[in-house]
């Protein structure tokens, strides 16, 4: 199968194509990378960085783990690597597939937001909110921009931290992202500043936040804290079928970063994302990662605990729904310093022939003493045709560590259904209640509106699962 990344024909989006200010040709060449850099008017070092990354991308083999079969179906020659987003947004609402519109309807997404989510409009009601938010943040010295603007306005900070956590050498998709990245968020929190409200990519309008190869960099300076939220539960309609993002988090001494993702990609999308964080002395990093939709998701948020008493936490849920869907998700925690602690909580649900895999790494370096870690992964399978796998890896090179690992695979028990039904719930309601309960450790960490949305989405997904 050739990966049809320019799916605009399929969905009738070809009308505006002639108007594109810039659109690269298929396949990835040095010329394309150079023209992306030129278009963005980037400093020389970034251009060199992109070119070096391109070389690495060419040389790197495909990962030999994960869903290699699906991975190898990706045809890199058949991808448009850059489409200027302002043009992208001229797509018409009429062209958005009906099922996506229906889902917006049933989720009760406001009209203006629907267009935004469908990628047909960047103008969105919260523009005013965003502007006032940005004024407040400015007073605090907080920088919250799209990555392109970040590079233009704060080149020194970007240069200091960019690609220090996820170098292009890391993996083929990180290299690809490094060569052609566009959009994403750039956030800097000054020392001692606590940003009370969550920063949402949602508010970052008029920018390329739905980008195919977005790049996010968050730096929380000493003693600061921030919560960043990306995505939403509504299906993110993308005509691009390869989403390959890189996210880098840097929590300096005693800083705290929480990064929440809820994504529900349309079913044509390969979602291959490299997310990594570094936690310095006394810092806390938390990844909350909710994965729904897509064809194949491979995502393992990782945390390097490099300073004493740093704490890392990953809570992830994956919903694999349908035989054409594989969620390969998990977490990586690397304990490098002593007295560091970590918790991994992974929840997966598979139904309708879907496949959910947990892939995790817990590593304790030699010399990291008095390390504590808890890993808990639970899989819930809703029928006989679905699949769940667990691939936990532990590399412990130190004696004085305390590691707990627990994994469960369960089905919805008839006795539980009977119990709930005896209290008046229908079979469907009873199943949904058990599933919601299973997801609770994740959902309870979300801001209220996201929690409500997520529960509603699960309800939608579960509809018709009886039979």
């Amino acid at each position: 199968m050739a990966l049809e990344l320019n799916n605009e024909y399929q969905y009738g989006f070809h009308d505006s194509e002639e108007n594109y200010a810039f659109k690269s040709v298929r396949g990835l060449t040095k010329e394309i990378v150079l023209s992306i850099s030129k278009m963005k008017n980037e400093p020389l070092w970034m251009r060199e960085f992109r070119l070096k990354a391109l070389e690495i991308f060419y040389k790197k083999p495909m990962p030999k783990w994960g869903d290699t079969e699906l991975l190898n179906e990706i045809d890199f020659e058949n991808i448009f690597y850059y489409v200027k987003s302002s043009e992208k947004q001229e797509k018409s609402w009429e062209d958005v597939p009906k099922e996506i519109k229906n889902t917006f309807d049933r989720l009760g997404i406001p009209e203006a937001e629907r267009k935004f989510l469908a990628g047909v409009s960047a103008q969105y009601e919260s523009e005013v909110v965003y502007h006032s938010l940005r004024e407040d943040l400015k007073k605090l010295g907080v920088i919250f921009l799209d990555m392109d603007s970040g590079l233009r306005e704060y080149p020194d900070i970007v240069k200091k931290y960019f690609a220090t956590i996820v170098p292009p050498e890391d993996n083929k998709f990180a290299a690809l992202n490094s060569a052609v990245w566009s959009g994403g968020s750039f956030i800097y929190i000054p020392p001692g500043t606590n940003v009370e409200i969550p920063l949402q990519a949602y508010f970052r309008i008029n920018t390329e936040n739905m980008g195919q190869f977005e790049r996010t960099l968050i730096i929380a300076d000493e003693g600061s804290s921030v919560h960043y939220i990306e995505g939403c539960t509504a299906p993110t309609y993308s005509s691009d079928s390869l989403h390959s993002a890189v996210v880098e988090l840097i929590a300096l001494k005693n800083a705290k970063i929480r990064y929440t993702t809820i994504q529900n990609w349309s079913k044509n999308v390969y979602n291959l994302v490299t997310k990594r964080a570094v936690a310095h002395e006394g810092a806390v990093v938390e990844w909350l990662d909710g994965n729904m939709g897509s064809k194949l998701t491979m995502k393992y948020p990782s945390i390097y605990l490099v300073g004493e008493r740093a704490h890392g936490e990953v809570v992830s849920v994956a919903l694999a729904s349908g035989s054409d869907q594989h969620q390969d998700a998990g977490a990586k925690i690397i304990h490098i310093a002593s007295n560091t602690t970590s918790v991994i909580t992974s929840k997966s649900i598979s139904r309708n022939g879907g496949r959910a895999s947990y892939r995790g790494l817990l590593k304790v370096h030699k010399g990291a003493k008095n390390v504590k870690s808890t890993v808990k992964c639970d899989a819930l399978m809703l029928d006989e045709i679905s699949r769940s796998d667990t691939y936990p890896t532990m590399e412990i090179s130190e004696k004085c560590v305390q590691v707990e690992h627990e994994a469960t695979v369960s089905k919805i028990e008839d006795e539980k259904l009977f119990y709930l039904m005896s209290r008046g719930l229908s079979e469907e309601q009873a199943k949904l209640m058990i599933v919601n309960g299973f997801m609770e450790p994740f959902v309870k960490e979300l801001p209220m509106e996201y929690a409500v949305e997520l529960n509603r989405l699960i309800e939608l997904e579960m509809e018709g699962s009886i039979g």
């Binding site: 028990e413 008839d414 006795e415 539980k416 009977f418 119990y419 709930l420 039904m421 005896s422 209290r423 008046g424 719930l425 229908s426 079979e427 309601q429 209640m433 058990i434 919601n436 309960g437 299973f438 997801m439 609770e440 450790p441």
Partner: protein, 253 residues
């Protein structure tokens, strides 16, 4: 008193094994009936069959509840008619709080649209009645509850859902004497406030009957009622055990 439950010649099986052999029973509104019998005599099959557990098949006979034959109804449909089963082993549902569970069940059975606030008020009132701490409202259903807490939660559920007939399957099993007393008292309190409630109490100890005075006592042996009587029958069983009835039954055959 009007008939609430009328069972005629009920035969039921699980996995092709016949457990209930032609049982007859009638309970009228407001009555308390105790079904006593040894472990393995078919008491729990009886309660599961009444509530409509899918693993139990009715091979013959009829269960008429409040004028409706419920043989083929699903558990939730039976609940809607006013039937309640207090489980011998209540199940835990991690991640679902007692309050949200009860709110959904309440809504499903009564179709009400009480605001979360009004519902909470109602729940707290019932908890106060049964002397259950409010903190239980936000705990996950039966998750990490002690035996006594689980049994009292069943009574709280009954109190919230206000059934016409409560089948209580061994609400006394596994409890120490103090917990037993608490559970019995909460059943009594609710029953006093709701005299129309019919109760079918399944137990193999006489002790709980000291607190809950049954109108009728039935003895279950080998999947059928072999003897019925007043409260004095329970006292006799406590003294003499079940053997004399089993022998009597064997002699009949």
């Amino acid at each position: 008193m009007p008939e609430l439950l009328k069972i005629k010649n009920l035969q039921a099986e699980i996995d092709g094994k016949k457990i209930l052999h032609g049982l007859d029973l009638q309970i009228n509104t407001g009555e308390i009936h105790a079904v006593m019998g040894r472990n393995g005599s078919g008491k729990s099959t009886f309660s599961n069959t009444l509530m409509g557990h899918p693993a139990y098949k009715i091979s013959s006979g009829e269960i008429n509840f409040n004028g409706t034959v419920i043989n083929d109804l699903k558990p939730n449909e039976r609940a809607k008619l006013g039937l309640f089963l207090g489980f011998q082993y209540p199940l835990s549902i991690p991640g679902v709080t007692v309050a949200s569970f009860l709110r959904q069940a309440h809504k499903a059975l009564k179709g009400d649209t009480a605001s979360p606030r009004d519902f909470r008020k109602l729940l707290y009132e019932k908890m106060d009645d049964l002397e259950i701490e409010h903190a239980f409202a936000t705990r996950y259903i039966n998750d990490g509850f002690s035996g006594g807490e689980k049994k009292r939660m069943e009574i709280l559920q009954m109190a919230m859902l206000e059934p016409k007939l409560a089948v209580l399957d061994e609400p006394d099993s596994g409890l120490d004497i103090d917990s037993l007393k608490l559970v019995a008292q909460s059943i009594n309190k609710y029953k006093e406030k709701n005299p129309q409630l019919g109760v079918l109490l399944i137990t193999h100890y006489q002790r709980i009957l000291d607190y809950l005075r049954p109108d009728k006592v039935h003895v279950f042996i080998d999947g059928n009622i072999v003897e019925s009587g007043g409260p004095e029958l329970a006292v006799e069983l406590e003294k003499k055990g079940y053997d004399w009835l089993a022998e009597k039954e064997a002699a009949k055959a």
